[in-house]
């Protein structure tokens, strides 16, 4: 018998209401998205017993659209990982090859979709956490433009970077799910797009864009993000681009020198924000109690001992990066790099419609392979993190297999250019 994939932290069915666009479809929800009455652990021992008293906006939208929620999917603790191995509830296995990781941090969601345990799933993407597991498990994952989807109810890891995004077997199904969850939300001020033009999701229908028409589409192949890739990955990537060109697209090389700084900038900014976002876990209102002996600083410390090692590492890094005397050297510098990356992409989109690269520079790791070496794991985020730093939309679409393992093609679009990347990606998986 195949080993258990361990895609859910909590399996619980929430039936949808009425006959909306997702009636009859099942959706797995990443375990950092709040579900009223169903525990939301973030893959952490800290929140093993935490039951939210409210639904995230996306969860409301799912059930109102008729979707049936199948459960809360496994994830790296608080989204901090690229393999779903840092979960306090054990690793999830890759359905394509159970000796390998499914990617992370939304590994449970991607694996559930790939294994057919659920039709669709929601993940969250802070530095690649939807696209990486989509690529490793051979499914489609979309990281929307920052502000397209409400984050209300998403337990924050790095709030200036992350978005909730859909995972599905095909581009058009991922786009259907995006149609349901996208839109302004008065509870998330960052979904306010423009007072005059309104929110793009109010008029766009993403599923209609999945028409496979790439005639005349110009694709920029980002040299910096192809150079570092494993040869087997690069080969599949080039074949996928060739396939798009064969369908009428044009491809040319583009250079974005700033993306070489992305991993460093990402880890400084993400950990800085995490050190603040995760401060609320002190055992006072929820989470593991720190007990009642000694003073409250000790109680806080005892409570926070229930974080796993990767979470502790990132909180310490972020606290350091924000400290007086170091903030200029780390946090400010990272913000400068972020601005540079944003500019680089803006200029590139004057020339091309989408920017293409392998989603992940590597094939899925063996279980346990990267845990002992965090730096290797961090470097695997080289192609996905620039997109979060620039707040842009990106999709990972399956581009065949190498050595029997899935490879993902990443297509990045301009701000709120979801239709463009969905159209392009739909030509790949058609």
């Amino acid at each position: 018998m195949a080993p258990k994939l361990n895609v859910y932290v909590t399996e619980e069915t929430v039936p949808g209401a009425g006959d909306g666009p997702l009636a009859g479809r099942s959706v797995g929800v990443k375990d950092n998205i709040s579900t009223k009455g169903i525990r939301t652990t973030c893959g952490s021992r800290m929140l093993a017993d935490y039951v939210p008293p409210y639904d995230a906006t996306v969860v409301k939208r799912l059930t109102e659209a008729g979707a049936t929620i199948t459960g809360k999917t496994n994830m790296d603790e608080f989204g901090m990982g690229t393999t779903t191995e840092t979960s306090a509830f054990g690793p999830t296995r890759n359905p394509v090859d159970p000796t390998r990781v499914p990617g992370g941090s939304s590994g449970g969601s991607a694996a559930a979709v790939a294994a057919g345990e659920t039709d669709l799933a929601l993940g969250s993407d802070t530095g690649g956490s939807v696209r990486c597991p989509a690529a490793f498990c051979g499914v489609v994952g979309i990281k929307p433009t920052y502000g397209l989807v409400s984050r209300y109810g998403l337990v924050a890891y790095a709030n200036s970077l992350e978005q909730i995004g859909p995972l599905a077997p095909t581009v058009s199904e991922a786009a259907e799910l995006l149609d349901v969850i996208a839109g302004p939300d008065e509870r998330d001020a960052t979904t306010r797009y423009d007072d005059r033009e309104g929110h793009p999701a109010e008029t766009a229908t993403y599923a209609d864009a999945a028409d496979g028409d790439v005639d005349g589409l110009s694709i920029g192949v980002c040299t910096e993000l192809v150079e570092g890739a494993d040869d087997r990955v690069a080969e599949r990537f080039e074949a996928a681009v060739d396939e798009l060109v064969a369908q009428g697209a044009e491809a040319k090389e583009v250079s974005l020198p700033s993306v070489e700084t992305a991993v460093q900038a990402y880890y400084v900014i993400a950990t800085s924000e995490a050190s603040s976002n995760l401060a609320r876990f002190d055992g006072v209102r929820y989470g593991q109690s720190g007990g009642y002996d000694d003073n409250w600083n000790q109680a806080f410390a005892d409570s926070r001992a229930s974080f796993g090692p990767e979470v502790k590492r990132r909180i310490l890094l972020g606290t350091f990066a924000l400290s007086a005397g170091y903030q200029d050297r780390y946090y400010r510098k990272a913000q400068d790099a972020r601005a540079w990356i944003r500019r680089d992409f803006d200029e590139t989109f004057d020339e091309v419609d989408v920017v293409a690269s392998p989603t992940m520079p590597v094939l899925p790791f063996e279980l346990g392979e990267s845990l002992s070496d965090p730096l290797t794991m961090y470097l695997a985020d080289a192609n996905t993190t620039p997109v979060n730093l620039a707040n842009l939309p990106a999709v990972s679409v399956p581009a065949g297999r190498a050595d029997g393992l899935p490879v993902g093609l990443q297509l990045v679009g301009p701000r709120f250019g979801e239709k463009t990347i969905i159209r392009a990606a739909s030509a790949v998986d058609a």
């Binding site: 950092n32 998205i33 709040s34 939301t40 973030c42 929140l47 935490y50 939210p52 008293p53 409210y54 995230a56 984050r151 209300y152 109810g153 998403l154 337990v155 924050a156 709030n159 200036s160 008065e186 509870r187 998330d188 001020a189 960052t190 306010r192 800085s272 924000e273 050190s275 603040s276 401060a279 609320r280 876990f281 002190d282 006072v284 209102r285 929820y286 009642y292 409250w296 600083n297 806080f300 606290t319 924000l322 400290s323 007086a324 903030q327 946090y331």
Partner: protein, 501 residues
């Protein structure tokens, strides 16, 4: 100040700067829809939601009413208002802080470089407001069974968490504790005029004061002190002050304490001190080893808010100083009456209503002396009778039409209205206080003359007191409802007739 005392103090000058936290009177909290008003006997943590409890996944959404209030404060303080409002996170762990960071404004305060003019002992002084910014109030902490040192355990109540706060920071411009009192009273008055502040609410005003002493020779002729001198002086931060009166007491204590220490050759420790109001002393809380590192950074959940045109869009009412001046000119009031009648916006608005209908002098007497006097005696303010001011106008109207005497109106009707909560007509009806008619007076005069032949004889003998005595008898018989002047006239006439007859 005695000459001797001045001589002793001549060598040191007082330097005080204030940080004033003011709760803004908005309907809802600054980042969520929870009410800011405590219900009577509300349970702890009942006026909360995922946002103000800092539940995982909850996000702040700015209540624009709080930002509008801040812009109005900026206008009233004649401050610069930043065209773009941004928020930051101030990171520190404390049990009353739901997220273990406070959303505040670090290097982008909504207001900066304002000022307030205060007058102390007739001397006008300008206090410079360095900055004023918005932030969220933490919850409140209840030390069960004692103080922070002796409590067995501590409870936290988040009902207050998320109440909009404005922190107003002054330059170290105060040279005495009474200046801080005058400033704070003025600030409260201005905030009250803007209708964004309720001084009666517990915790609505919290003051931290930085206090130091510098050699008096360092004070320039214009009262300024250079930055190096200020930086070199060891200062204490006094916390837990909650009123302008408290500020004067606390700072007078602290100045004396520092002065005595220096006199005895001891250095002033740089420390935070707690004002213990019941004991009337400041006590050391903790040494201030170094600046705390709050790791401020941008709050990405709140996009910058463009407020460049808000200054123009939002109006503020006439402020107390201007209104006082206008009252003097327009209504011919003296300084004292003008000051009393502009002490709160509600009083001033009411006065102008009354002065519009009646003679401004009569209106001033009624509002400043009669009404405020009676309210003050009962520890009440105009705000406590806000819904009954119409009844007061009715009463003044009755006096104006001479349907009731002024004395009865003041001493009986108004007092019953305030004590029993009844309307003026009811009191007048019940007590029979309507002005006595002509017939009643005629009858009472006749009876007084008949019943007091001795006094009548004295009157005819030219004794001064006799007529007053007879007036008193008539007034008594009519229960005070007769007009004393009319009674006086009627008596003289009747006595004259009798003498002739």
């Amino acid at each position: 100040m005695s000459t001797q005392a001045s001589a002793e103090r001549a060598d040191l000058a007082v330097v005080i700067g204030l940080e004033v936290h003011v709760q803004l009177e908005t309907d809802t909290k600054i980042f969520c829809g929870c009410s800011t008003t405590a219900k009577e006997d509300e349970a702890p943590n009942s006026r909360t939601c995922p946002v103000c409890l800092g539940l995982p996944g909850a996000l702040p959404a700015v209540n624009e009413a709080a930002v509008e209030a801040a812009v109005r404060v900026g206008k009233a303080l004649d401050a610069e208002i930043a065209p773009e409002t941004r928020f930051h996170r101030k990171n520190y762990f404390y049990p009353d802080l739901p997220k273990n960071f406070q959303i505040s404004q670090y290097d982008a305060p909504i207001c900066r470089d304002g000022s307030i003019e205060v007058s102390v002992e007739g001397e006008r002084r300008e206090v410079v407001i360095r900055r004023a910014h918005l932030e969220e109030d933490p919850g409140s902490i209840v030390h069960a069974g004692g103080s922070i040192d002796t409590a067995d355990y501590t409870l936290v109540d988040y009902n207050r968490a998320g109440t909009p706060l404005m922190e107003i920071v002054t330059e170290p411009d105060f040279r005495s504790p009474d200046e801080t009192r005058a400033f704070l009273a003025k600030l409260e008055e201005v905030l009250e005029y803007l209708s964004i502040f309720d001084g009666g609410r517990d915790g609505s005003l919290r003051i931290d004061a930085n206090v130091s002493l510098v050699p008096a020779t360092e004070v320039a002729d214009d009262g300024t002190i250079d930055k190096e001198t200020l930086a070199a002086a060891n200062r204490t931060e006094v916390k837990n002050i909650s009123s302008h009166k408290g500020a004067e007491k606390a700072l007078a204590y602290e100045v004396t304490r520092q002065r005595n220490a220096i006199k005895r050759g001891r250095a002033i420790d740089q420390e935070t001190r707690h004002w213990d109001e019941s004991r009337g002393i400041t006590v050391s809380m903790r040494a201030k080893e170094e600046e705390k590192d709050y790791r401020y950074f941008d709050e990405a959940d709140i996009p910058p808010l463009q407020v460049a045109d808000w200054r123009e869009r939002l109006s503020i009412p006439e402020l107390p100083d201007a209104r006082r001046e206008r009252f003097r000119e327009e209504y011919g009031l003296d300084n004292e009456a003008a000051a009393k009648l502009t002490s709160t916006k509600q009083v001033a608005d009411f006065y102008e209503d009354v002065a519009g209908e009646f003679d401004p002098g009569l209106a001033a007497t009624w509002v400043a002396d009669v009404l405020l006097g009676e309210l003050n005696y009962r520890d009440m303010g105009v705000a406590d009778v806000a819904d009954r001011l119409g009844e007061v106008v009715t009463l003044i109207r009755l006096v104006d039409k001479e349907e009731i005497t002024r004395k009865n109106a003041e001493e009986q009707v108004l007092r019953s209205m305030l004590d029993e909560g009844v309307d003026p007509e009811t009191v007048i009806e019940r007590e029979g206080l309507g002005t006595a008619d002509e017939d009643e007076v005629v009858v009472a005069v006749r009876e007084a003359i008949d019943a007091n032949p001795g006094a009548v004889a004295d009157y005819h003998d030219g004794e001064d007191g006799a007529l007053n005595y007879l007036v008193g008898q008539v007034m008594g018989a009519t229960g005070g409802t007769a007009d004393p002047g009319t009674v006086n006239e009627r008596l003289r006439a009747t006595l004259a007739e009798a003498n002739e007859g």
